[in-house]
């Protein structure tokens, strides 16, 4: 069994799940201190990504899960 392909499968599905479950975290990681703090949210609250951005992140998450499952399938 190819270890790197196995890693691609497991980590791909795992990362995809994070993108699907917590898109705001993914946006936060990429934009924190690159965009205005608290933008889109009230003072003292977390930045809330726009709905279109959240949807985009979830689409990428679905692609990552699909990619991970594909590599898992190639190992079978």
């Amino acid at each position: 069994m190819d270890l790197r392909t196995l890693l691609a499968a497991v980590l791909g599905v795992g990362l995809g799940a994070v993108f699907l479950v917590s898109p705001e975290f993914v946006v936060q990681v990429q934009t924190a201190w690159r965009l205005p703090p608290d933008r889109g949210g009230d003072y003292g609250s977390e930045t809330q990504p726009a709905n279109w951005l959240g949807t985009g992140v979830r689409v990428v998450g679905a692609l990552l899960v699909a990619g991970g499952l594909y590599f898992a399938w190639t190992l079978v």
């Binding site: 990681v29 965009l35 003072y43 003292g44 977390e46």
Partner: protein, 274 residues
């Protein structure tokens, strides 16, 4: 103001980030044959560009404009007084229409800018606004923006190096490309968890400094309470029409709190009043 807790935490986090950066630098030197000076120069340029672009983008994206001193003379006077008490150069004050009560600081000591939204000035009393402004000035005084940009920069550098390490040690097949992207993303997220943790603590420190400089934590606590109450009401009115959006981006629970850059507002209020 000296904060032993912050110093200790920064020493731990700083050492961890430096260790990660050192590993990344050694990998770059080994794999690409870059000399140390080039690695350092590229790193400084990378973080410097992020800092400059970040400040410019932050001001531009909210349409920040010159603060109308004639309209809010008391606010301007309080900022002048707060800066003098903190012993820092008065930051540039700007105003923007953000659609929500908000304020943020960008830049560094001596070249800082504080942006307040018109909605914030309309929502809060002068004393409450002073609490918010004192908090933002504390961020500049404590070099929070610079430190966090540095943390974000290290996270990006380590992630890029991890990605390349996977690519260059593989067979260049499709699984390797996929794995490289995934490893890069995961690495950045893990490093950012550490940066977010220190960011949450820095919020408490800025609150404490703000309370110290104005002599009480009550004005800022009231401001947070007022804004938080307004948000809750807005969210409740949205529930009917946007249940889905609220479920995803609404209340922070469990893991989501670990991933936040700000501590929970209720905890900040509690600390300010304790």
């Amino acid at each position: 103001m000296r904060h032993l807790g912050l110093t200790a935490r920064m020493a731990i986090v700083g050492s961890l980030l430096f260790a990660l950066y050192a590993i990344a630098a050694v990998v770059v030197m080994g794999v690409f044959g870059w000399p140390l000076w080039l690695v350092l120069l590229a790193s400084v340029a990378f973080v410097g560009v992020q800092y400059k672009i970040g400040k410019w983008a932050a001001l531009r994206s909210v349409g920040a404009r010159e603060f109308p001193v004639e309209q809010y003379p008391e606010i301007d006077a309080r900022v002048t007084s707060l800066a003098a008490e903190m012993g820092i150069e008065k930051p540039e004050l700007k105003i923007a229409q953000m659609g929500v009560p908000n304020a943020f600081a960008v830049g560094r000591k001596g070249a800082g800018t504080v942006v307040v939204s018109t909605e914030l000035l309309q929502t809060l009393t002068i004393d409450e606004a002073e609490g918010v402004l004192a908090h933002e000035l504390s961020h500049i005084n404590n070099r929070d923006v610079v430190m966090m940009v540095l943390g974000q920069g290290v996270a990006s550098i380590v992630a890029i190096v991890a990605q390349w390490a996977v690519l260059l040690t593989g067979d260049n097949d499709i699984a390797d490309f996929f794995l490289a992207i995934v490893v890069g993303q995961i690495t950045q997220m893990l490093v950012m968890l550490v940066v977010f943790a220190i960011s949450r603590y820095r919020e408490y420190v800025a609150d404490s400094d703000a309370a110290a400089v104005i002599g009480s934590g009550e004005p800022l606590a009231r401001a947070l309470e007022k804004i938080s109450r307004g948000t809750e009401q807005a969210q409740h009115s949205e529930i009917d029409s946007q249940v889905n959006a609220l479920a995803i981006f609404g209340e922070k629970r469990g893991l989501a709190r670990l991933l936040a850059t700000h501590p929970p507002v209720e905890k900040r209020i509690e600390r300010l009043r304790s």
